[in-house]
Every structure is written in structure tokens, then in C-alpha cells.
Amino acid sequence: MNRKTAGLYIHVPFCRRKCPYCDFFSIPELTLLPAWLQAVCREAKYYQGKFKCFNTVYFGGGTPSLLSPSNLDFLLENLRRIFLITPEAEITLEMNPEDVSREKLRKLQGLGINRISLGLQSLDDEALTFLGRRHTAFQAEKALGQALEAGFSSVSVDLIYGLPGQKKQRWEKVLSRVAASRPHHVSCYLLTIKEGTFFARKILNGQPPLFWEKVQRDLFLFTSRWWKNQGYLHYEVSNFAVSSKHRCAHNLKYWQRQPYLGLGPSAHSFSQNKRWWNVSSVKEYCRLVSSGFHPVAERERLEPAQEKLETLFLGLRTADGVSLALFSNLPEDKKTLLEKQGLVKTRDDRLFCTEQGFLFTDALPLWLTGDFPLKVVAKGR
């Protein structure tokens, strides 16, 4: 049994339609929903007694708001029976704006869901069309208002920015309108063209142009400063919260390498030094579970060196950074160099990224370990 308090993730693998930038696992076949519901509960039973307790539950997807309140009731009731879910647990539901209504929100609250993560993506109709979303800016703003009114402990907003050709002013307008309602939490994701998505195939034909990188870089720094001016904490590369207690407790577990159990197709789990993940097929998942098998696609056991690398690259994504003790022999000159360049800072035996540094969290682990070369670069490039 894992004695640490863990997080519970449920992957809802259904969407009305695939968005052109999305590489999450989801399918538009809602007919499979009932079978999926059964399978998730059955899969949960396999893990009964394997985790001490859960203090976060996260319904992610896919589009979890496709689940009706009674679906969610059924799930939560089963999960509560199988596992110990602490009374004050953070229970998040991801919702698409078109699924939000006052009545539904009220019912969700009744089920104990206390955190809503709203997939607004933008409040700019042009951007929403580009992103292939089914809702308008008006709907999105309305949904946000309703969610906030309903009185959840935390309402979070997902935004995508750095779209090809997006001007800073347009993006700032979106930010202002979102900030006007003061959600507790905001995630701002730079648009990434992911392999295998529609965008990768059609829009940019592979490699994004170099200047786009500079545009995105400027927007990223702008966004970080903008939310800080609004009094938000920039606590992870893409995440902001009004206060540290409004940080997403569930997502923090990923970056802090706390244990989590993922249920549903393609869900990932982590416990002690093991990682495993489920098959990325709803049918296969249901078939395996209903015939009494684990729907696991792959498992891995981490070597100490791998654990260390994970701690490093995950930790660097958060404002808390990583413990300096992690580096047995961090070359002093490397550290100074990165500090001089304004990418990292150290305080109280911890090393963490500045907002500039957040822009390089994929490369920093290798720069810091000395695997990749570093050099003084004149500022202002």
C-alpha cells in the first residue's frame, strides 16, 4: 500500500468532436459511455487497498462535462465506497462552456464537486473559430460568470494563446475580460503544434517558422507579468492562482511526484518508483476490464537516476523549483552563468526558474546537469 496521500484521476475519453490541436486521447463515440462507466468502477476495485487515501479527485478528458450529474453521482458513489476519499478533498470537473448551466452547476455542487475547470480557451471569437471550438466568446463569458456565482471553492479557466498571427493587444483583451471576473485559477497554454494533430498536418506543415518562437516568447513573458500585476501567483509554467491555497492540489502532485492513480483509457498512474498507463482504446479498455484483466498498456520501474531526472525537470516547472541537494556536483560556474542570464535564482537551498527561465524548462535539466553546453550570451537577443 502506498502510505502517502494520493491523487485520483478519471479519464473521460469522450468528445463531441476532435479539436484540431488536441492530442489527448478521446473519441466521439458516446454510445460507449455506459460500458466505460462500468469499467471504471471495476478497474477502481483492482486498486482497493493499494492507496491509503485520496485528497484530490480530478475528472479530466476528453470532455467530462458530457457526463450527466447522475453519471457523476454513480461514479463518485462507487469511488467513495472503494477508496478513502478525504472529506476536504479537492474534487475537480473539467467542463466545456457549452455544457454549463446554473441548474447543472447546482447539481454538481450537490455531489461534492468543489472545483470547476472551464475550457474557455479564449474570449475572442476569431481565436475560438481558429481553434475549432463549439462555443462563442459570449457563451464562454456567461459560463464563467455562472460558475463563479455558483460559489465553488475554486473556478479555473483554461486559455490558449500564441496562435499564428495573434497580436498582443488581442490577447490582452482576452486577459482583461477574464481577469474582470477574477477566477481563482487560470491556466494559459502557449499553442503547441503537436505531432499527429490536424494542425500539424494542415496549418504549419511541420516546422513552425522561427519568428513564431520569438512571438510566443514575448507573449509568454507578457502573460506572466500581466497576471502578476493582477496579483496572481505564477506557480507553474502555464498556471496562475490568486493565492497559494488556490493552486491546483491535484496537478501539483504531478510536478511534486506525489502518488496518483489514473482510471480509464490512457490514464497514467504513479506510485513509489513505478509508472504505468492504460491502453488508449475505449473498446479495448472495456473488454480487458470486463474480462477481469488489468487494462495496462505498459509499466516501468524507475532507476534512481531516472527518478532524479524526473524530480529535476518536473520541479523546475514550478515556482518552488528543486532542492539544491539534488545536485551532488552542480558546477558553480553553470549556476552562476544561468543566474547571470536571469534564468534561475537560488534561495534557501532551492533553485528555481525566473519567468525567463520558465521558457527553457525543457532544456534547463540538461544544461544544469552539464549534459548540454552553456555559454554567456549577450543580453537583449
Binding site: F270, Q306, L309, E310, L359, F360, D362, A363, V377, R381
Partner: protein, 599 residues
């Protein structure tokens, strides 16, 4: 077997005229291979030969042939390569034979290498049996091929055999001719042993296995033999013949072709061309051996990671046994560390060495840009030979430079004459003449710098003549050249391994290409990378790889951890395959790409 029952012959021809296919038919005819085990060009056993559809190494096979009147003969067939770069393989094969099958493709007629290998066979005084192959082709022109045999080869066309190796036509007649027209070997089993080492290979279990032609005497397991060049004595463990696999025999006697295993664990002891004799009764003089091949193309070879240097050294020592035309010596480079300077017979040869080292010896290597050998006359009257850009003399001291020229012969159908002449002139041809060879066919002669031939001349000629053109060349003389040394600098540091010696006229074009290629191959860094190509201190081309402006994954949640970690691990691993120049990581493929610049 008594030597009157032995025949030793090679199959020689221009490239692709069907040598290996004919060998297949001869092998099948004597029943050496079951239908199940047969595959086309059976003797082309190396992966790289099969991929490219050409023979690279000569292969020997012993054919047991029963005559109509019941005698059993042993026919040693040696299939040889047709490409110019492997002509050393042909020469060594011929030294083991009394006769040849000179194969001529009936649809192509006599080609450049047909002549070249005929001359070689004549030098060895061998019986020559012309074989007109591919008579099944609709484009076959037997009459015209016969005329060419008379006129261009000065052979009796009446003695030429007609055959289709593909359709198994005329194979029996070939056997008859081999038996009747090729003399049996002349040596005597009673004389002291002389066996010529014409090839070798290293076997991890058995040590060195040498291929020999026994001229006089006998050798059997248990004998003490001596290598005449070193005087070293070894105990014979096994002798035998090649029957697609090694087949051990009690004895190899005069006239035979086969192998000897003699506990030769030290690879360096074995020398191709050496004579083996009996230790207790040595022959008075060794066999003449082989004419040394002079390499014409040079480049350096480095292990991708420096710790692999000893492994590479070991691999080369073993490899060279099996490729007598390859030469190498130690050298070191500031950018790449310890390595070797190597000599080759041509660019294809170079590619083959590279690939075989990678495939058969599992070596990860970096090659530098190939060069020919230049002669520098210095102000003080002395002269130096330079085939390595890093030995380029101080330009202030150079009086003049000479580069090797070749006498080039091109055969081409008349309709491509203009294009071929243009190609030759682009490659700085001089003294260009052309001859009417036969209706529709032209022959072009010119003098051309070797440097221009070794880089993709073959490919370019094939492409402009749609495969119909062929060429042959031999070194002629040296002529004045206007060359410069082009250096490549990465963030101000010279990468010695990327320097090249080029003709002044080509320097700018090469410089631009090199900068472009490197820009594509060098990954982005935390800092900008500037690539420059310079002659002395004068930069003539540059390119720029901007620094990362950002390198971050926007979303990293539970499902992304493993993927992200694996990516970092892969990058770490990849770093090991990169060479550090200053603080810039240069991947192996950047060196390879720089080398392929001519394409």
C-alpha cells in the same frame, strides 16, 4: 586431386554484364546448391552487395564437374567485381588462374571495363574465352558484338560463346570450353610448397583464414608452414576448399585454390600477396606477389566517441585483411581526437569501407571530406605531398601546386555526346577528343583532374546518359593546379576535420554549400552558433543558427512525465554521439552531410 583435373578461372567483365548471374548458373549446373537455398547472385553475400546489386569482393567457389566420360574435375571459379574501384580484386583473382571468361553484354557491347580487364588478363598470359551474354534480350545484337570482339578486342569472334545466364542458355558449352581451352595448372606437387595468399578474413573463433592458390608442393593439417615475408612459423590446423561454405580437405596440392587455417591469431602478421611455404623445406624464392595498389582518394576516419578508438583500431586491423586495397595510418585531430588517415581506390571504395565497418564491425565512425594527393613545390625548392588538409603548407611558402590527372575514356551512345562533353568540360577536362567507335557509339578521351572524377563523376555520367555511358581512367601525370585550403569555423573555432583542399574556382560554391549543410545539421543551442567558411583569414561564406528563444512544453501533466523523461534521456544519449567543438555540439551526421556536399 592431380593438377590435370583442375581448372582455375575468373569471370571478368564490365559492371553489370552478368558475371555473378553466370556464376549462379555454373554453380547450379553442378548441383552445389539446392533449389531451396538458391538466391540470385548467390556469391554476392555481403549485405551491401545485395543492396546495391553489384559485386564488391571476389568470391571463389570450387565446382565438382563430372565429364561425359565420367572423369571428375575440380573447377575453381572466381567471380570478380566489375566496378573500377575494385579492380584490385580482379588483379588478385587473375594471379590465381589460368584462364578467364570475358563476359560481354550483347545489348551493350564492349565497354570501358571490358577492355581494361581484357588487358589485365593478357598481362597474366591467361587463356581468354569471350562469352556473349544476355542474348535473350530483344536489344541483344550478337553480330555487332562479334564485330566489336574482332575489332576492339582483337579476339577471334568465331571462338566466342553465346549465352544467356538468365535463361540458362549455352551453359554446357561454357563448361566444355573451360575444360578444353583453359590449361590445367602447371606446378608440381613434388617441389617445395609455394602458396600465394590472395585474400583473408578474420574469424573470431578460428583467427585468420587465408585464401591461397597453391602453385607448387602440398600443404596439409599438421604441417609447419612459414610466411616468407616474416619468417614466422605456424602450425596448420585445417586446409580445405570453398564450396559456398568452407569444406575441409586432407590436403591442398599444387594447382589448387582453397584456404588454410593456421592459428594466426595476430591479425597483423598476415599480408596479402605473401607466400606460404613449408618450414622444414622452404621454397628458394617467394612468388612475385601483387603490385601494390596506390590509393588515390584519402580521408580521415574517427570514432564517434573517443573511447571507441581502440575498438576501431582493432576493427581496422581485421578489416584490412579482407580488403587489401585499403590502407590506413594513425592521425589525430583537434576536433575529433585520435583517428586514422585512410587511402582508397575511389569514392565507391570509400563508401563501401565505411558501410562495412559500420555493419560488419559495428563501428560508429565519422569520415572527413575526401581528398586527392597534391604535390606542393615550396619557395625553398623542396616539395611535399599532401593528401590531408591539415598538412597544408603555409600559403606564403607555396610556389606552385600540382594535382594528379587521369586519362579518361568515356563510352557513350552518340546522342549523349554533347552532354558528356559538357560534363567533362565542367570538370576541367583538357585535350578532349572523340572518336567514332561504331555506328551510334562514341568514345571520348580527355585529361581530367582526378579530384573531379572521384566526386560523383560516375553518378553524373550515368544520369546524363541514362545509364548507357561508361568510363575508365588511369592516372596519367600531374599538372599545375590552383588550389586553396578552405577552413570551416564554428563560433570562431576551426574544425580541422572539415577543412578541404579545393580548386580556387570551386571554393566559393563549396563554401556556401558547407555552411548551408551544417546549418541544417547542427542543433540549436542556448547560444547562437555562427558557421563560417574561410580561406586563410578571409571569410567567404557564413551561416547562423539562432539560439533557442524558448524550449518549453506548455502542458506537462500525469500522462506526459514518461514521454518527457524519455525525450531527455534520448537527448542525453544523443549527446554522446556528438562531437564538441568549443561549446558547440556537432552531430556525426553533420560530418557525413558535409562530405556529401557534391551531390
Amino acid at each position: 586431386m592431380a593438377s590435370e583435373h583442375i581448372r582455375n578461372f575468373s569471370i571478368i567483365a564490365h559492371i553489370d554484364h552478368g558475371k555473378s548471374t553466370l556464376a549462379d548458373r555454373l554453380i547450379q549446373q553442378v548441383g552445389l546448391v539446392s533449389a531451396r537455398d538458391f538466391r540470385e547472385q548467390l556469391l554476392d553475400t555481403m549485405e551491401i552487395e545485395r543492396e546495391r546489386g553489384i559485386t564488391i569482393k571476389s568470391q571463389t567457389v570450387n565446382l565438382p564437374y563430372r565429364t561425359a566420360d565420367g572423369h571428375l574435375l575440380e573447377l575453381n571459379l572466381i567471380d570478380t567485381p566489375g566496378h573500377v574501384d575494385f579492380s584490385y580484386e580482379v588483379s588478385r583473382a587473375l594471379a590465381c588462374c589460368e584462364g578467364v571468361l570475358l563476359v560481354i553484354d550483347a545489348s551493350q557491347g564492349v565497354q570501358a571495363q571490358t577492355l581494361a580487364c581484357l588487358y589485365r588478363a593478357m598481362e597474366h598470359d591467361l587463356a581468354i574465352i569471350p562469352v556473349i551474354n544476355k542474348i535473350d534480350l530483344p536489344t541483344a545484337n550478337i553480330e555487332r558484338t562479334k564485330e566489336q570482339i574482332e575489332q576492339e578486342l582483337a579476339l577471334e569472334s568465331g571462338r566466342a560463346l553465346l549465352c544467356s545466364a538468365k535463361e540458362t542458355i549455352g551453359i554446357n558449352e561454357i563448361f566444355q570450353a573451360i575444360i578444353q581451352r583453359i590449361p590445367p595448372p602447371s606446378g608440381s606437387p613434388d617441389k617445395p610448397l609455394t602458396a600465394l595468399i590472395f585474400d583473408a578474413q578474420h574469424d573470431p573463433f578460428r583467427g585468420v583464414i587465408v585464401s591461397v592458390r597453391v602453385f607448387d608442393g602440398e600443404v596439409r593439417a599438421g604441417d609447419e608452414i612459414m610466411l616468407m615475408s616474416t619468417g614466422k612459423v605456424h602450425l596448420v590446423e585445417e586446409v580445405g576448399i570453398f564450396r559456398l561454405k568452407r569444406e575441409s580437405r586432407p590436403v591442398l596440392s599444387s594447382g589448387s585454390v582453397g584456404y588454410i587455417i593456421a592459428g594466426l591469431k595476430e591479425v597483423s602478421e598476415t599480408r596479402i600477396g605473401d607466400t606460404i611455404t613449408q618450414a622444414h623445406q622452404p621454397a628458394p624464392v617467394p612468388l612475385p606477389g601483387f603490385r601494390e595498389m596506390k590509393p588515390v582518394v584519402f580521408c580521415s576516419l574517427y570514432p564517434v566517441s573517443s573511447e571507441d578508438y581502440p575498438a576501431l583500431a582493432d576493427a581496422l586491423a581485421k578489416y584490412v585483411l579482407n580488403d587489401a586495397a585499403f590502407v590506413y595510418q594513425k592521425e589525430s585531430s583537434a576536433a575529433l581526437g585520435q583517428g586514422f588517415r585512410c587511402g582508397f581506390l575511389g569514392l565507391l571504395h570509400l563508401e563501401v569501407v565505411q558501410e562495412r565497418l559500420q555493419r560488419e564491425y559495428n563501428q560508429s565512425i565519422i569520415l572527413t571530406v575526401p581528398s586527392v594527393r597534391y604535390r606542393f613545390l615550396l619557395q625553398d625548392g623542396s616539395s611535399v605531398l599532401v593528401d590531408n588538409p591539415s598538412h597544408y603548407p603555409d600559403p606564403a611558402k607555396i610556389k606552385q601546386v600540382e594535382e594528379p590527372y587521369v586519362r579518361l575514356t568515356v563510352f557513350t551512345p552518340e546522342r549523349y555526346l554533347g552532354a558528356v562533353i559538357k560534363l567533362c568540360l565542367e570538370r576541367r577536362a583538357v585535350e578532349l577528343k572523340h572518336n567514332f567507335l561504331r555506328p551510334g557509339q562514341r568514345e571520348i578521351f580527355c585529361q581530367l583532374p582526378l579530384a573531379e572524377v572521384i566526386f560523383d563523376f560516375h553518378d553524373r555520367l550515368k544520369s546524363i546518359t541514362q545509364g548507357y555511358g561508361s568510363f575508365d581512367y588511369e592516372l596519367s601525370d600531374s599538372r599545375l593546379a590552383e588550389v586553396v585550403k578552405l577552413d570551416v569555423l564554428v563560433n570562431g573555432e576551426r574544425v580541422d576535420a572539415l577543412s578541404i583542399i579545393v580548386h580556387r574556382q570551386n571554393a566559393y560554391r563549396r563554401a556556401v554549400k558547407i555552411c548551408e549543410k551544417l546549418k541544417q545539421e547542427i542543433p540549436r543551442h542556448q547560444f547562437p552558433v555562427v558557421i563560417q567558411a574561410a580561406i586563410g583569414s578571409r571569410v567567404i561564406a557564413r551561416s547562423h543558427i539562432p539560439a533557442f528563444r524558448k524550449d518549453v512544453t506548455a502542458k506537462c501533466y500525469g500522462g506526459d512525465v514518461t514521454r518527457k523523461r524519455k525525450l531527455l534521456e534520448k537527448q542525453k544519449e544523443g549527446k554522446k554521439k556528438m562531437k564538441m567543438v568549443g561549446s558547440v555540439m556537432i552531430p556525426q551526421k553533420a560530418f557525413v552531410a558535409a562530405m556529401k556536399i557534391e551531390e
